[in-house]
Symmetry: C2
Subunit: 239 residues, 2 copies
Amino acid sequence: MKNPRLIAVGVGPGDPELLTLKGARLLREADVVVTPIGDRSDSSVAHSIIAGFVDAGRQQLLTHVYPMKKNPAEMEDAWQASAAEVAALVRAGKMVVFVTLGDPFLYSTFLYLYRILLDQYPDVAVEVVPGISSINAAAAAADLPLGLASDRIAILPATFEEDKLRQTLLDFDTVVLMKVHRVFDRVRNLLKEIGGERRAVYVKRIGLAGEAVFQNLDEVKTEDLDYLSLVIVARGKRD
Amino acid sequence: MKNPRLIAVGVGPGDPELLTLKGARLLREADVVVTPIGDRSDSSVAHSIIAGFVDAGRQQLLTHVYPMKKNPAEMEDAWQASAAEVAALVRAGKMVVFVTLGDPFLYSTFLYLYRILLDQYPDVAVEVVPGISSINAAAAAADLPLGLASDRIAILPATFEEDKLRQTLLDFDTVVLMKVHRVFDRVRNLLKEIGGERRAVYVKRIGLAGEAVFQNLDEVKTEDLDYLSLVIVARGKRD
């Protein structure tokens, strides 16, 4: 007898082979698999990752829409509806897997659902299975280690205020800049202004169609910028 | 025909089920599997993770000693010997997997080998397969998300100078403190001094024998401290 619960399974950055053995097993064992999709073209990625493990003849496969870039009330309504359905399924005795790109506890869509479940459905058991985050996958693709021995690492949105961003780049050994597409020129100029021996690598759409790695930020053109991209800045020269 | 190369496979924090499908496949396909061991009692963890995937009758299984806490020259000698053997195997046409706990590019033993290979054996092809880091696994075990939406995250040794540590705790939404066993009382006092609404969770030996999670730092006794442990500090109260 399976324990009724919600299990957030981190399925990694996009390559189905970067799913964990535990994630694959739980996808096969689940009564219900919920895949959240946004309103962007990347929505099909999660479906393609899980396709080889689930079976529509034997399992209930649900798609929940998690709108992005809409008004907050509309987003909140969608999360509330998702939480209500998930909670009802668990209360009816089902083992429900919620598919999460990357890692469920690092910048994921799941965290919106998680907050609502903790607040409003405290009787619903929740389990989290970690996944490969896009940050670790990007570092591997960029040939750029995130940290060694006593290194200090910062992960933050590149949209952070410029003075604080500058100080972070000076204080930390490695800085991972998220949401970089919005302020790419500012980041590039800031790195030139700071100077020193640093490697900065732009990684675009890691694990997804259109994945690309730029070892030189000067070669990144406006059309190369993408919502799903990041810059890793590390001390030291290119080897 | 396999491409001769060294593949660093991140095998995750300890639970063999947190290995990726890709990691499992490469362990099975390898001609040679190298498992680094330290001189601590945790050495057998990597062996236990890979045991179900490798076959001593068909593959060459090597153990390389990576000493810890010895003099630097002795450590360097061990890394050099490991690199020389790995390079010779790849040059002889072998596909060699190097087993790495956690993720190869995040505070791993592999990074010592990687540096030497890049510097001294540039003809040896190296590939990195990301793994679940102990940080992501610890967050899941602690029920404590690392970051949501535009949060800023810092990962650094707790042994960092106190003023900088205080500033980091004030500036970042989530702070992961590594090597916390050496300065645990200092960290606990600093958090009390700073005040504010923060959750701090101590996670010990994630994925290994003796794993434990303390949601209240005041309950951590001297005998609970361990080399393989960390503290995650996040804004907000315990839910």
